[in-house]
């Protein structure tokens, strides 16, 4: 596997878009959390009563969840990046050449998923550091590992978004189609379907189990979540379902890539 990863890294490390996306993504994580932090400070300063509603989102122990929630809006960045990394292979027909040169089809798919997991781990570490930073600079906040499981949720959610994006890439083969579906589904249709299932059809919590939604419910908005995600299942159930989705994306990608003409 290490050898496969080294080859995958050769493909990625000189790809300019990879670095542009990664750097933008890192700055965006810092930026979106700084914005949240700053707005919260302003609100509390100008209207102390607002703290009753907002709580202390950037103080320990809530900060782990807050950073996870805020950063989750940015998961479309790595999603698009991994769609491009996958569809590039189709465009350049290098997915064929890699097999011709002596990879198995399974190796081709597996190393992409493993690379996505490693990327997610690095992103999670970065989120951890950002949460640590904002937790420490919040006045009246004392370091605590309470709620650290949220960092684990960040990891699972990042993997889930990226592998979902890769699944779309292998399904559509064209970056434009995959990116469009990724955005439309993630930002609009999934919410719509959740609302329809949970409120229109009164089937709560079934609507929470949609592919991306299930990870969003795992890292809910740090205040008012009891209202917004009314009747949400226990976190461990969400974790199990998320992992099942990730496994299913891999299984499907593998099946499609090993059975069909390339």
């Amino acid at each position: 596997m290490l050898h496969l990863l080294r080859i995958e890294w050769l493909k990625v490390k000189n790809y300019k878009a990879f670095w542009v996306f990664t750097i933008l993504y890192s700055f965006a994580i810092l930026g979106i959390n700084y914005t949240g932090f700053y707005v919260n400070e302003l609100a509390v300063q100008n209207m102390p009563a607002s703290q009753m509603l907002l709580g202390t989102p950037y103080a320990f122990p809530k900060v782990w969840q807050t950073v996870g929630f805020m950063s989750s809006w940015l998961l479309y960045f790595p999603g698009i990046l991994f769609i491009m990394l996958f569809t590039n292979e189709f465009n350049f027909k290098t997915h064929r050449q890699n097999i011709i040169d002596g990879w198995t089809r399974k190796e081709f798919v597996t190393v992409k998923f493993v690379f996505a997991i490693i990327f997610s781990a690095v992103a999670t570490i970065f989120n951890f550091l950002v949460a640590l930073l904002f937790g420490l600079i919040t006045t009246g906040s004392h370091f605590s590992f309470a709620g650290i499981e949220n960092v684990g949720y960040i990891f699972i959610q990042t993997v889930a978004y990226i592998t979902f994006a890769m699944f779309l890439a292998i399904l559509f083969r064209k970056s434009g189609a995959a990116i469009a579906v990724f955005f439309l589904y993630g930002l609009i249709f999934e919410w719509l379907i959740t609302v329809l299932i949970n409120f229109q059809m009164k089937l709560t919590p079934v609507g929470y189990f949609l592919p991306l939604q299930v990870t969003d419910v795992m890292l809910p908005i740090p205040f008012g979540d009891k209202v917004i995600y009314k009747g949400a299942p226990d976190p461990w159930i969400l974790v199990v379902v998320s992992l099942a989705y990730i496994g299913a994306y891999y299984f499907f990608a593998l099946k499609k890539f090993t059975k069909e003409d390339l």
């Binding site: 050898h3 080294r6 080859i7 050769l10 493909k11 000189n14 790809y15 300019k16 590039n88 350049f92 027909k93 290098t94 064929r96 050449q97 890699n98 097999i99 011709i100 040169d101 002596g102 990879w103 198995t104 089809r105 190796e107 059975k259 069909e260 003409d261 390339l262």
Partner: protein, 296 residues
Amino acid sequence: MSVLTVENLSKSYGRIQALKNVSFSVPEGTIFGILGPNGSGKTTTLGTITDILKPTSGTYKLFDEPASAASRRKIGTLLETPNFYHYLSGVKNLEIAAEIKQHGKEDINRVLEMVDLTRRKDSKFSTYSLGMKQRLAIASCLLGSPSVLVFDEPTNGLDPVGIAEIRELMKRLYREGKTIIMASHLLDEVEKVCTHVAILKRGELITSGKVNEILSNEDIVELSAADNTKLFEVLKGMGNPSKVVDENAVIKIYFPVGTADLSAINNFCFNNGIILNHLILKKKSLEARFFELTNN
């Protein structure tokens, strides 16, 4: 040992049958041409043996064993188009190919030199001309000096000098004892380069064997007399021609190249009581032979 054995290979795309029960085998140490017009199934055949396409039925073996990723690593393959990462330089692309084939980097400069790309090795692949892309693909095939090379239309996009160089390279590799499997729609190319050939037409194998047997140039002698039926009977008794055909107006006799002797024929007929009123030697072109093989 057979480098490649294909048995009853069929491939359909929906209702289109791209390959129909194709069987042939490639002996070691040959330049094996797969010849056929566009759409005859050449690339489909090569795509199948490199695991890019899944056959509908049939089997194939590489080095007398069921094919695997390990056997593919021992074969340098250029299939259809040069497939490289556009954003990487030539040399970086070869590094990836070398890693996948599990060879070191040390061979890269040698193969770049062989295809005359050393000067442009650090330019991005996307800036290469069609001919340079093709040459980079050939360089990639040569990595690690594999004993078997598969080239699909190797001279595609090359200028006349490039074409001559690649043909010379293939002959050199052949002399070094390597086996080369080459698909081409150019009869001339197969005739100039290959030792063996399989001819495909609309997915069917027409024939396969040694080039000098299948694509041999023949001498054709056309003749006629007052009584062609009698002439035909008499000619059948003649010793050396490979075939005699009665085409009503004229009779055609086929000879191996350079063995037709008009005066001997004339003499033979005269001695058998036939006076010829028409006798002419026609050389048969390879193209005519190719059309004959691939038409109907």
